[in-house]
Symmetry: C2
Subunit: 185 residues, 2 copies
């Protein structure tokens, strides 16, 4: 298997009006995405935020579960959160993944709207290649990632289509489904 | 397609020590599960809680998004939350589904640990039958449903296995993956 990384971006993302904004880190996103990342064998989960106070908040959440009371209360949360790396930029996440895997990761862009040329079977095959480059699945918050993040994509995964024309899954649900489609047994 | 319902149970569930408890309703569970239910074409999403105060809390969350400010702020949340029905017991959920679909739903039990005899292909085929009975996918909170809820199952879905031996997905992530495996395109 090629190495899998996941990352969640809080800037630049768009809000409901299409304006470019910075979104806040949500404690539950850290837990849910870390647990999904751990389940599907990701090497690390990068939380990307440009604001130092927000990174400090995320670090406090991790610290609670990695030391002291939280650690004793639920070791399974710690085991997932141990995968989490808090960084300021996508470039920092890419550099960390490259250092860990000795190869630059390909960025797999995800979006409820974008139409990529790469299908699920093709993406699964890329991950199964033992000598393939690492892949970093990039998730956005708010109403999706801004065009400058989309431009960083090496390829784009298809949107998740259910049984209806409604496609407003939470990022927690969408990331779980995408990991299952990429790596599920 | 047979009708699909989803339900989340807060009692009787087990805690980390195996004790039978009542869990609290989480606002984000309502949003995430409603959005996933709406995406995958479920007819309704039942929130089951035996405590009246907890049902009143859930009703306030729904009301916020269905009327006034919340409704104007994000109509897509309302569209998903409109599927939500707050009930006291599983029997009440079953009766409501039976009244809506004119047939008693089969209960599809979900668990990170249970080993059911029904595979994903078989469950998908059940849902594709136009004249098949409705199916209600039942999700637990806490550390899983108590044996008395498991006994209500007509069949049990397989656990979600990722690429590792870690299987502690959040209920939000697990429900999204299960809906995708049952009804995803």
């Amino acid at each position: 298997m090629a190495s899998l990384y996941i990352a969640i971006a809080h800037y630049p993302v768009i809000d409901r009006t299409g304006k470019i904004v910075t979104s806040a880190i949500t404690s539950l996103d850290l837990h849910d995405l870390a647990r999904s990342a751990r389940t599907y064998g990701a090497k690390a989960f990068f939380v990307i935020h440009p604001v130092a106070d927000q990174r400090a908040f995320a670090a406090r959440v991790l610290d609670h579960w990695q030391t002291g009371h939280g650690r004793q209360f639920d070791s399974r949360r710690r085991e997932a959160l141990d995968l989490t790396r808090i960084v300021a930029t996508l470039d920092e996440a890419i550099a960390a993944a490259e250092a860990a895997s000795a190869a630059r990761p390909l960025i797999a862009f995800t979006s409820a709207r974008a139409q990529g040329a790469t299908g699920w079977d093709e993406a699964r095959a890329m991950l199964r290649r033992a000598d393939g480059p690492p892949i970093m699945a990039l998730f956005g918050t708010g109403f999706g990632m801004a065009p400058t993040l989309a431009e960083r994509a090496d390829f784009t995964l298809p949107p998740i289509l259910g049984a209806s024309d409604y496609n407003h899954l939470s990022v927690r649900a969408a990331a779980a489904i995408i990991l299952d489609r990429l790596c599920g047994r």
